[in-house]
Assembly symmetry: C2
Homo-oligomer: 347 residues x 2
């Protein structure tokens, strides 16, 4: 992104009202909204109970402008929040977006973010759209998205409903996003970890799947309601890593989750033509696929792959006792992403 | 706020999970939530249509830690969003909060923010509570709040429904918050505008009303549904200034708004014992009271004060023609707050 104004007028030059008009022009309607942006609130119809989730992405720790253009950033903001809605078994209906940016940010960059948000809604969750938001000033690009969805009369699928004997299944890309981040740090960052854009075009050429998964992920949103209808007992979005989030589901449900490497490798060893090692699947993070527990007698919805099973506690030897996460029968230590304890170069 | 760790453990030391546990302990339940924080989404019941709004507050342009402690910041975050919900004629039911803070921020500061959010919900909008959120890293304290409310079967009151002949009325504090900001810049900031905490206790002693209005405002949230039930035709939250927001309502409704200084001075010249000049009422900003248009035959709900009337366009001479905002019959230029064009010292 250019912030020097050569690529166009900045938000500081145009002022809030003008920027909003430019940004709103990029946004299509949301099917369930009877009133969209422009008033104090948007107004939405809701069928059944409502689900709601919020997420922040901050330039530096969460993304780097050398790698992300505005469109990809908007797309990723939408996709990562839509997947939280899908993980409850709900249908996403609306997003609100609070953006705060430096004074010198080009207005065109904000318009690209809006385009990316809108395109992701149309592609991943048709009928959903941006219904409102806010624009402010910050020292770095800061975005907070809230996603809303409706349950259509069904109960929400939480992370705490898995029972011993359930099939553990996963839908979506797995490990690719983490590989993409590793590749970007290896080939598009200075030795001190500062991101630059020089290596990015070559990486897109050589590793399009991993870069797309990292920069503009496409989680399987409609599979959230499909899993709920099929009878999923527990479900969650895998954002920090499969091992961390499977362990969370196990603890919340009071069971252990036993993953099988053979199942993981068969289903996810090759994704869109890219080879993905087992370690990347377990620890990569930012996958935003759906991890679910289904009763064993249920046929998995198309798109879900069996990757293990739920065991009663305590787990028998050799893993034994209080282990809540296993791989091929041995205790597995969860590893992945914590924004406050993981020290990323350049962050 | 101390960020050097002497006042306690930092978020970087404790890690995301520990911080969340500490913060969630401060939050009471929301009446309409069947599932609160801890899963991918919260789950809410909704009576009638849903209203939703988002707002960001960033350290620097929007608040200064020398003036705001965590509790006041949390309180203001809640209050300013609740007033947007009230302005639609809706009852606030839930907030989500996305916070991003520097690594070295004390965990106790985040716990105070949560306490302030919770206390404001209980005081201003009983039954409403924080149902979810997100915690991330940022170079400065960055907060985005989304507020949800329900219309209980009524239509939303927008800013575009005022008609010629309507009574224009206002409820809440007016001009005090802007006075508070001016006092803080005059007595608790260095000559270059950098905020410091030294003058703050003396200001609280001498100008408690203005400081409270600026740092921890208490908008009249229940008057939103009261106005809707009474038949308000248009309503909005006054956030940028009475003159700016009245002009917005006039434009959206296709009428002119004629304010009367005598009515403003009678109703708002002395608030909680503080003298408020007319200029502060018109241009102060951050009032978060409710501006509404009522049909002339309706008795105003208690708490609303008549401040003017809606006129048909074009406005007759001497103001004449396309003027959409008048004071005592003369054209009034809207003035107030735009985060990108107003250059505050220290921002």
């Amino acid at each position: 992104m250019e912030r020097d104004g050569t690529s166009g007028i900045s938000v500081g030059e145009l002022g809030e009202r003008g920027v909003l008009a430019r940004v709103l022009a990029e946004l299509g309607p949301a099917e369930r909204a009877s009133l969209g942006p422009g008033d104090d609130c948007a107004v939405l119809a809701v069928d059944g109970e409502l689900v709601v989730t919020s997420d922040t992405m901050i330039e530096g720790p969460d993304f780097r402008l050398a790698w992300h253009d505005g469109f990809a950033l908007g797309w990723k903001l939408a996709a990562t929040n839509l997947s939280d809605v899908a993980a409850m078994g709900a249908r996403p209906t609306a997003l609100t977006v609070a953006l705060a940016v430096p004074h010198e940010t080009p207005v065109s960059f904000l318009a690209q973010i809006a385009e990316g948000l809108d395109a992701a809604c149309r592609a991943l969750a048709p009928g959903c759209g941006v219904v409102g938001g806010d624009l402010g000033r910050a020292p770095v690009v800061s975005a907070a998205v809230t996603a809303l969805g409706e349950l259509g009369g069904r109960d929400a699928v939480t992370r705490s409903g898995a029972r011993a004997g359930d099939v553990i299944a996963y839908a979506g890309e797995l490990g690719l996003a983490g590989l993409g981040l590793s590749l970007l740090f290896a080939e598009s960052a200075d030795p001190d970890g500062t991101a630059h854009a020089r290596g990015v075009p070559a990486l897109w050429e050589r590793h399009p799947e991993a870069l797309a998964a990292q920069l503009a992920p496409a989680p399987p949103i409609p599979l959230g309601t499909a899993a709920a209808r099929a009878g999923a007992r527990a479900m969650m979005d895998v954002s920090d890593s499969l091992s961390i989030d499977a362990e969370r589901m196990a603890r919340a449900s009071g069971i252990a989750i036993a993953l099988e490497s053979a199942l993981l490798e068969t289903a996810f060893g090759s994704q869109d033509g890219a080879e993905v090692p087992l370690a990347a699947m377990l620890t990569g993070g930012e996958d935003h696929g759906l991890l679910a527990a289904f009763p064993p007698e249920i046929e998995l919805p198309v798109g879900f792959h069996r990757i293990g099973e739920a065991l009663a506690l305590p787990v028998p030897p050799p893993a034994g006792g209080a282990a809540t996460l296993l791989l091929d029968g041995a205790r597995l230590e969860p590893r992945g992403w914590d924004p406050f304890t993981v020290r990323l170069p350049g962050a």
